[in-house]
């Protein structure tokens, strides 16, 4: 059982939409550097590094130095069911909003195709 303060820190770490995307991208790749992650997200490498530091402090990611680069992995045991659920919910909403946008922009809503 984690202490309350620690749980709060964990929640705060995953509440941020960019960090949720970062975690998802990292889960998809298993392991990646800040530079690699920055190519997938609409943020700079510096911003990715900052977010990774927050995730690292919350114990959600693990950094491993490999020669000149630092590779990050998700610590799955820390990404508990609720966290995963929220991350998933957020990704779902992004998909749904993108579909709403496509429908609203491409068709006349009064004329379902």
């Amino acid at each position: 059982m984690r202490a309350r303060g620690e749980a709060d820190e964990l929640w705060a770490a995953v509440a941020d939409p960019t960090r949720q995307r970062l975690l998802d991208a990292l889960l998809a790749h298993h392991e990646a550097t800040a530079t690699e992650l920055a190519t997938e997200l609409p943020v700079t490498r510096q911003a990715v590094a900052k977010h990774l530091a927050v995730l690292d402090r919350a114990g959600l990611v693990e950094a491993r130095r490999l020669g000149r680069e630092v590779r990050y992995t998700v610590r799955p045991e820390r990404l508990d069911a609720v966290t995963r659920r929220l991350t998933r919910v957020a990704a779902h909403w992004d998909e749904r909003l993108a579909r709403i946008k496509r429908l609203a922009e491409s068709t006349d809503p009064s004329q379902p195709s």
């Binding site: 749980a7 709060d8 929640w11 705060a12 509440a15 939409p17 995307r21 998802d24 991208a25 889960l27 998809a28 190519t39 997938e40 997200l41 609409p42 069911a81 609720v82 995963r84 659920r85 929220l86 998933r88 919910v89 957020a90 990704a91 779902h92 909403w93 992004d94 998909e95 749904r96 909003l97 993108a98 579909r99 709403i100 946008k101 429908l103 609203a104 922009e105 006349d108 809503p109 009064s110 379902p112």
Partner: protein, 147 residues
């Protein structure tokens, strides 16, 4: 405070009336949320969201203030009647920005949902099964964003 909500937003190149129609009319909802939808569009009205693969999820309309605010509560698991403790609240807000519309969505109430151990176990299982597929979806989605 522990966050208990998901917030997302998107800027849509269409006026609020048009976005409102897509967000609230069953024939459109069935295209962005599930495979088909039935909605009694008034406060307290019943709604059903159907996924061919999973079944029908029941929802209850909470607020209908065209073209600015639409909210509903949807229940889990499939088939359950929405009530406190088994449902989350989804709230859409539409704001005009010039010729465009900012669509903001908040889903809240996950802490409530996770109250019972039985439910937690259920979600954990659901997550384990669903996670891999979700990641595939997400990967596609992210690459679409980058493109």
């Amino acid at each position: 405070m522990v966050p208990d909500r998901i917030e997302r937003e998107i800027l849509i190149d269409a006026p609020p009336d048009r976005v409102w129609a897509v967000v609230t009319e069953p024939e459109h909802v069935g295209r962005w949320f599930g495979d088909s939808a039935e909605i009694d569009l008034r406060p307290g009205g019943e709604a059903t969201l159907t996924w061919e693969e999973h079944g029908s999820v029941r929802a209850r309309v909470e607020r209908v203030e065209p073209p600015h605010l639409f909210s509903f509560r949807w229940a889990r698991p499939v088939g359950a009647e929405p009530r406190e403790g088994n449902s989350t609240l989804v709230e859409f807000r539409l704001t005009a920005e010039g010729e465009s519309t900012r669509l903001h969505v908040v889903e809240s109430g996950f802490q409530e949902l996770d109250r019972s151990e039985e439910e937690k176990a259920e979600y954990a299982e659901e997550n384990t099964q669903g996670w891999k597929l979700e990641l595939e979806d997400l990967r596609e989605y992210v690459s679409a964003l980058v493109r």
